[in-house]
Symmetry: C2
Subunit: 268 residues, 2 copies
């Protein structure tokens, strides 16, 4: 009578209402088995699922506004870098490579949970997705940023060490704070609108990374035609605190609607 | 320069603001390594962390009201059963045993993610915590409930199969619905107030299992002195839909306060 259904997410029908969510959950679990994702990365993914849930699991104009400012900021910056961890590598590898190309912003592997073989596993995922150059892979060259005590302090001398803008999808609060104190501009993707990362970042995109990267690629293709003055105007007009407060209002509104909607399933 | 910090939760100082949360996160990860917890259980734990976060990570009177009704219902029921999965077994093993004793409600291991050796691993955890009798462990005796297609359908003929009330902490929606359709009363502990489990259950405790079980043990010691009429009154006066709606209001209120509070860290 025993049967294993650990891998049942493989067989979730495409019309299942939670198909997308289950598909990415499966990718994260497989990522852990393949050493790419840390155990704590599974828990972090769950936290993200919940916050996405109370955003209605869809992108909104407030998030898109932040994405536009993020792309503009990266386009006018001198040395933008895209920081990659295990979760982003399994969730959106091709999109990371495409965004990196569109914005001429190199990918740098930067991990909180280091483990023998993890950098190599992530490198392999990114190369398979088409990445030509990946920073953060040559241990002999790495340097430290003193403001940070976690493994995140170990950075590439050609990447985060000298970057003016760091794009940090799925980030921990300590590093965002450290990068800010080092004078970097930080762009974060964080489904928790009141995490330390969300609060500290210059531009916080409160949305699911799997929807954010494709959208940012589209925006990058559009904004690349603009001149620096126009791009700078987009950045200057963006107000992160207002954006986060608007997101909190959106969540409140969603929860209010659920007071009526949630019980409809009982009458089906 | 490589150093492993996967196990750093072990060394989190007790005055760390997130000490409790990190301690239980560590237990869940260890539980997975010891086969007790499913991979998907880590993701589920993360979802719980997030919902707990927007409840301010503390119990409230609305949840305590549901706990009181839950204890009362179990005390007046003929055959109450406490369903145990991997996450509950690693998070609150001693408390499960104590509540089981207080309420004369047997523990039954019932899993969504079955895997060779998992029932045995959970049995061992519960026995170490003092459990004398554990249902759901003898494969040769198990029967199925037809309303359910997942592994959750495999139940003990002396437990969930004949129970009138099933206490299901950390539950999946399908089973709650199936148990309801079979005429069982269901008591759920679910940090997501609008999950299918939360909506379908007769009594939904929207709170963290690590706070709920100790509180329910206390309540059980108190209510055991009451007669059936008094207990039935507590149950009858409880309104689950109202309770859930009040919880949603509480979350809205918490989010509203965060619009001001969250940015205070920038001024520190």
């Amino acid at each position: 009578m025993m049967n294993r259904i650990e891998d049942e997410d493989d067989h979730v029908p495409k019309d299942h209402p939670r198909y997308q969510s289950l598909k990415y959950r499966h990718k994260i679990i497989e990522g852990m088995k393949n050493l790419i994702v840390a155990e704590a990365g599974l828990i972090a993914h769950g936290r993200g699922e919940c916050f996405d849930y109370i955003l209605g699991e869809q992108s909104n104009d407030i998030a898109r506004n932040a994405m536009k400012a993020a792309v503009a900021l990266m386009l006018i910056s001198e040395k933008p870098v895209i920081s990659v961890n295990g979760n982003t590598a399994v969730l959106v590898p091709e999109e990371l490579v495409e965004l990196s190309n569109e914005l001429s912003a190199p990918l740098e592997i930067n991990l909180f949970y280091r483990k023998e073989g993890r950098v190599e596993a992530i490198t392999s995922v990114l190369k398979k997705a088409g990445a030509k150059q990946i920073l953060g892979t040559d241990e002999s060259k790495m340097v430290e940023i003193q403001e940070l005590s976690s493994n995140r302090r170990i950075v590439d001398p050609e990447g985060i060490k000298i970057a003016d803008v760091v794009f940090v999808p799925l980030e921990d609060g300590d590093r965002t704070e450290a990068l800010k104190k080092l004078g970097r501009k930080v762009i974060a993707v964080d489904l928790n609108p009141i995490s330390r990362t969300a609060i500290w970042a210059d531009i916080t995109i409160v949305d699911n990374i799997i929807r954010v990267l494709p959208e940012m690629i589209k925006i990058a293709k559009k904004l690349k035609g603009m001149n620096k003055t126009e791009l700078k105007k987009i950045v200057d007009e963006f107000n992160n605190q207002k954006n986060i407060k608007d997101t909190l209002d959106l969540i409140k509104h969603y929860i209010e609607t659920q007071k009526e909607v949630a019980f409809n399933i009982l009458n089906k």
